[in-house]
Point group: C2
């Protein structure tokens, strides 16, 4: 987790026409700094301590807005809630079925970019790979 400058995030929001309010900046900052694909709940409970009047409605409103404007993206796994991320470079997601964590991985070489499949126009591509992560493998091997 690295620290991200508020100025930078401010610019990001203004570029897409979103007013950079305190709550919105904090939510986006949280996503930029916590690359574990947090859920709305995780964002809420983390920021609730910093902003006492903070509400879940604002989290949901903001996530929806940021997603619509293309600042963040949403991904779903079968087992749990919708997760969000601010990493918009093309990448795949690896989900460990043991510890539940989500990792990003490079798609380069794995999946060549496509603009069309079976006559359907491709706009977006999500790759969700499941298995046992490096850490869990070494624990089991012990």
């Amino acid at each position: 987790m690295s620290t991200v400058s508020l100025k930078e995030l401010c610019d990001t929001l203004e570029k897409v026409g979103i007013r950079p309010t305190h709550q919105r900046l904090e939510i986006l900052k949280y996503l930029a700094e916590h690359r574990v694909h947090p859920t709305a709940e995780m964002i809420y409970s983390s920021l609730k301590t910093e902003i006492p009047t903070f509400s879940k409605t604002t989290v949901y409103n903001t996530l929806k807005l940021l997603e619509k404007k293309g600042v963040i993206s949403a991904l779903a796994t079968v087992e749990d809630q919708i997760r969000y991320e601010a990493n918009l470079t093309p990448h795949g997601h690896f989900k460990c079925i043991q510890c539940g964590r989500l990792f990003d991985f490079e798609l380069t070489g794995v999946l060549p970019p496509r603009t069309e499949i079976d006559g359907h126009q491709v706009l977006e591509c999500q790759v969700m790979v499941k298995g046992i992560c490096r850490q869990c493998r070494s624990v089991t091997a012990k």
Copy 2:
């Protein structure tokens, strides 16, 4: 939608140690015949008319059981409920953002099979591609 023989489905269930009850066979039959990736709700409301005492609990129980035994698989999209399918050959999913339908497509050539990514052990891979489907494209083009 093609008709699938009950005998065949019966064998499928017995092979994995699931008692082939009437409800279970009907649910699996529905999935085998309706390749549109139905939700639990879709299965329930369709079979409710045939089996008047049919309950949603049974749908959820059965889907969970079939998934655990590897007879069907579950997939998630961000926008709506969990969807299920009986097609277990490796394939990708194309979701049309206009009409909402899900299509299967061949993964061969798109994604070479992998057993490991970044040191994580790969067990399963889901590819969800979003865009505009062939039909919606031609409608828009008119």
